[in-house]
Symmetry: C2
Subunit: 166 residues, 2 copies
DNA sequence: GCTGAAATCGCCTAACG
DNA sequence: CGTTAGGCGATTTCAGC
């Protein structure tokens, strides 16, 4: 099982940094129950090994003027690998597209988009997404309201699993 | 327009902290072109005013053993406000559900879920989600691969808009 | 009001046991 | 992993624009 190489202290560090990525190292060390230097060494190692991919401030997009959030379900004409990667590349070039995931089933891709208002999203939709090569069909759904938005990983579930198999 | 209260330095601070939330204040100050004390004051103000909602380490969920990501499209029987909030509350109680958004159109909610493996997701689906009160119908799509995953807000778009209206 | 400069305090981060 | 210790960053204070 992946993640088994991590001891409880490492997992505790990850959980704390996911909850507050700007915590000082001494505070972090206090919380996980070791002194500061080994704590910092662990954090560096977790970063190098790829468990921690980065640190980000969570910005309120609505307060910044991005009032519209939309999910776009995209179907392509061709699912050849080169056509899939071409579409992925196209998505990376659109700043309004924040996330793009390839799915199984009828829908090929789901895109999470933001926009300042409905009209600028519409112009992106008709002027860019629907015109993109290989796009057969796009269904869009406006986000009426956000109900839950938790970062990353449910450490509670991870701990349960590890406890059960121990 | 929202976000107009912010001057270019504030927006620059937000963009830098979104890209690297653990940047030191002196580094941040250097990048935005002011000295450290006013920079720190600006950051505190942005936090208090809600532009910055928090800081999070981005954890690689696959490396931690969450190998499955699923989008679940949920339709409810009743869309009465009390039934909607009841379902939202239920979603908040499920750790495997990381995001929940209420949508317009045929689908009432879209859920982004993670799970250690397919079987544990299946047991969540059949044992929890499909049994939840008021749930009429759930369509699930496995994420084959992630194509793009950018945090938050496209500051490039924000700057363009502000430049255009200036 | 704002910023910047100086000084203090606390943290980061080596080196060593 | 802990302790020590030196250097750097964070944060307050105060002066200037």
């Amino acid at each position: 099982m992946a993640g088994a190489k991590l001891d409880p202290i490492d997992r505790h560090i990850l959980a704390e940094l996911q909850a507050d990525g700007r915590m000082t190292n001494v505070e972090l060390a206090k919380r996980v129950g070791i002194s500061a230097p080994p704590c910092l060494r662990r954090v560096r190692t977790l970063e190098e090994q790829g468990y921690i991919r980065g640190y980000h401030a969570e910005i309120d997009s609505r307060e910044l003027g991005f009032e519209v959030q939309v999910f776009a379900m995209v179907r392509l004409n061709s699912q050849a690998e080169s056509d899939l990667t071409a579409f992925e590349e196209r998505c990376r070039s659109w700043p309004l597209v924040r996330e793009c995931h390839m799915l199984n089933g009828e829908i090929d891709f789901i895109l999470k988009c933001v926009a300042p208002d409905l009209s600028s999203f519409q112009s992106f939709l008709t002027g860019e997404l629907l015109k993109a090569a290989n796009v057969a069909n796009v269904k869009t759904s406006l986000v009426i309201r956000g109900s839950k938005d938790e970062p990353g990983v449910p450490f509670e579930v991870l701990e349960e699993r590890i406890a059960r198999q121990a």
